[in-house]
């Protein structure tokens, strides 16, 4: 039987990409060096592009429903990538909590990108073999981008960990801050057709290799973790992100430039 993605699953994939892309774009113009500024902006664009693809696929599915009232629609009564991104409120977003956390300093940003992108890499590897052609196509394209994100963020985590006293302390502090949020990756409450057990082992293996090079203690999966994102229960940070992101569209509906 071929895989038929649910709308909730597609929205989850899209929201993860959109919110992470938005967070990374906040670094634009504030990077520590010109090249890093451009790198993060490129990475943010990659994620926003991936979000567009997933939202478009979700919108197509929504528009085939007989009753679309659960979703925001445009003037023609159709769901579009824009209505899904700009007209939903925080409780309708299904992204992981990790991606909505504030950027903090360079260490928090690069470590968060590493944790998230290495999960995405494994997820997309599995989805790119899916029997649903659209899902497989989007996953394959995003996989190439995410492979670079893993490489870039991994290099930075190693440099910070292996660098000066201050950079190592900052990296350790960001690990303490972010680690409680990675447990959410493995819940799979939306029942995506992926093998989370295998993914978890590979992910932890990869992350611990990087930690060893960065002189951080090896990470072990926490017995308790922060959760709720995929069910719409978010941290207060998402509210601020959406306020900034959605203000224009909501204040001037259907505005164009």
């Amino acid at each position: 039987m071929s895989y038929q993605p649910t709308i909730a699953q597609l929205i989850h994939l899209a929201d993860n990409a959109l919110i992470l892309g938005h967070r990374l774009s906040e670094w634009c113009g504030h990077g520590p060096a010109l090249e890093q500024d451009i790198a993060l902006s490129n990475i943010a664009l990659d994620y926003v592009g991936a979000a567009r693809n997933w939202y478009q696929l979700a919108a197509t599915q929504i528009n085939q429903l007989s009753d679309k009232s659960a979703f925001p629609l445009d003037v023609n009564g159709q769901a579009t990538e824009d209505t899904l991104a700009y007209l939903r409120d925080a409780m309708d977003f299904k992204n992981f909590l990790l991606v909505e956390l504030p950027n903090g300093d360079w260490a928090v940003t690069t470590l968060r990108l590493l944790l998230s992108a290495s999960y995405q890499q494994l997820l997309l590897q599995q989805l790119s073999t899916s029997s649903h052609p659209d899902v497989a196509a989007i996953a394959a394209k995003s996989l190439k981008e995410v492979t670079y994100h893993v490489r870039w963020s991994e290099d930075w985590v190693k440099r910070l960990g292996d660098g000066t006293e201050e950079s190592h302390q900052r990296l350790q502090a960001s690990y303490n801050e972010l680690w409680p949020f990675i447990g959410e990756f493995w819940e799979n409450k939306l029942a995506l057709p992926i093998d989370t057990v295998a993914m978890q082992a590979q992910w932890l293996n990869k992350i611990n290799q990087v930690f060893e090079a960065a002189h951080l203690p090896q990470g072990i999966l926490p017995t308790w973790h922060q959760t709720g994102g995929t069910e719409g229960i978010h941290t207060e940070h998402l509210g601020y992100i959406l306020a900034e992101m959605q203000f224009l569209q909501r204040a001037y509906p259907n505005a164009e430039w």
Binding site: P32, A33, L34, E35, Q36, I38, A39, N42, Y148, R151, W152, D155, R159
Partner: protein, 128 residues
């Protein structure tokens, strides 16, 4: 009234803080031994998809070779400029002195006999 316009570049604020706030900034053109350490400069060469040679496209700062290649990928291949990147630390590039251009290059201009065009090729290899 003397006003000085300061141009601030990346890294200046940190160095200024370390130096106590009023001393000249490292990038003011006054290079002293006590400036904040600057990443080395690298020259970037990119080969396009249909090209045969790597062309010089610019330079960037990076801490080491791996970072230089990643930065070059982010800065100089954003718009599909190429498929291959070489990076070389600028200090390893040695250039000829433009003041010597006359003695270096002028003498070759009137030695037309150095061009391989003064003999007839036999019929058999006319299309060599």
């Amino acid at each position: 009234m003397n006003t000085v316009i300061r141009i601030f570049r990346y890294g200046d604020y940190d160095a200024m803080q370390k130096a106590g706030g009023t001393t000249p900034l490292p990038n003011d053109g006054i290079k002293t031994a006590a400036t904040a350490p600057e990443w080395p400069l690298w020259e970037v060469f990119v080969r396009s998809k249909q090209g045969l040679d790597h062309k010089h496209v610019g330079s960037l700062h990076a801490a080491d070779a791996a970072m230089a290649i990643e930065n070059a990928r982010d800065v100089y291949t954003r718009r599909q400029e190429g498929v291959s990147i070489w990076v070389v630390e600028s200090k390893y590039i040695h250039a000829s002195n433009p003041d010597e251009a006359d003695s270096f290059y002028e003498p070759a201009s009137d030695k037309v006999y150095r061009h391989p065009t003064f003999y007839d090729l036999p019929e058999a290899i006319k299309h060599m």
